[in-house]
């Protein structure tokens, strides 16, 4: 139930932001989740209704933007998806790369009124 605890944390933070900005109603919450973060979007969505019950986020929708796990090959400078290519550069077969993205776990924005 890892995702549920994390969702409670997210609700807490959004509530703070909402209060500060005098938000009355939140329609959509948009999260950014990297492919290499330990969060599974499927479970986040499934648990979302339970986590927002009785909070300012009640009845809101959850949108998740998945950020690809991209690496820059240190040998041939090719950018490739680490998961799809299993950490090996498809052009030169090098396993040495610099991580460009994929570990993000951000509250991006809310649609509100």
């Amino acid at each position: 139930m890892h995702e549920l605890s994390v969702l409670f944390e997210i609700v807490k933070q959004v509530e703070l932001v909402a209060k500060k900005n005098e938000v009355e109603h939140i329609e959509t919450l948009i999260l950014q989740i990297g492919e290499l973060s330990s969060m599974i979007p499927h479970y986040m969505k499934k648990l979302y209704p339970a986590a927002i019950e009785g909070t300012i986020l009640a009845d809101s929708r959850l949108e998740i933007e998945v950020i690809p796990a991209n690496g820059l090959c240190k040998d041939c400078r090719q950018v490739f998806n680490l998961i799809k290519e299993k950490g090996t550069c498809p052009t030169c077969q090098s396993k040495s790369f610099e991580l460009l993205s994929g570990k993000e776990f951000m509250i991006k924005e809310i649609l509100c009124s």
Partner: protein, 225 residues
């Protein structure tokens, strides 16, 4: 259609907890209470190891233990028999402790009279790794029956700990556990980690562990003086 506005937040989900954890560390510095966060999966021998650790160090430090469990106080009772101060924290279904709950636990323990506080985190290798509790150092126990492939399965946990205890080495011969391969996997994730092989049952390696903890606590206190 209703008029909605977009409110940009752009905030890392763990920011709030990380801030609270940093505040707690500041507070611990002032109070000169060293907090160790002890993590592992269920059944790795956390409570037995802890009991042995208390016996080794209780004459040198005023020790306080926080037992975090989803429910029950079985572990707290075992620890209470060692004579040190112990409190039970119920996480109420949550799979980890965050900085705020840790702070409340420390208040319950009364840090003024404690030099060394140890938090026995919920038995779980995933969630506790994500949430900084505000501890000065993080320790983890991996036991032989769990397998030497755990660093491959739970990389985050192994990459955030300062010290790793490999427990139950007295049963090494009955399991396909490659100690060297395991150490290598951990070092690859976390080159600075201190790894100590122990058996909380026979006592093997516990002296080295107690030494590490003693030295680390003393160095931290001296640095703050």
């Amino acid at each position: 259609m209703k008029d909605f506005k977009i409110l940009e937040i752009k905030q890392n989900v763990f920011d709030d907890n990380n801030r609270q954890a940093d505040e707690l560390r500041e507070q611990l510095k002032k109070e000169k209470t060293f907090l160790l966060n002890l993590m592992s999966s269920p059944g790795s021998g956390k409570t037995t190891t802890l009991t042995r650790t208390i016996q080794a160090l209780k004459d040198e430090f005023r020790i306080g233990i926080m037992e975090a469990d989803i429910d029950s106080d079985v572990d707290a009772k075992t620890i209470a028999e060692t004579g040190v101060k112990v409190i039970q924290l119920h996480t109420g279904g949550m799979c980890h402790l965050d900085a705020d709950m840790t702070k409340q636990g420390l208040e319950g323990l009364g840090t003024q009279e404690i030099d060394l506080a140890i938090l026995e985190n919920v038995g779980n290798l995933v969630c506790p790794a994500e949430f900084d509790t505000g501890a000065i150092k993080n320790a983890m126990i991996l036991s032989v029956p769990e397998g030497d492939d755990k660093p491959l399965k739970y990389p985050l946990m192994f990459s955030i700990v300062d010290v790793l205890l490999i427990n139950k080495i007295d049963v090494l011969e009955y399991f396909d556990f490659d100690l060297e391969a395991c150490k290598e996997r951990v070092k690859k994730l976390n080159p600075n980690v201190k790894i100590i092989a122990i058996s909380a049952r026979t006592g093997e390696g516990l002296e080295e562990w107690a030494d590490w903890l003693r030295t680390t606590v003393k160095e931290w206190k001296e640095k703050e003086d």
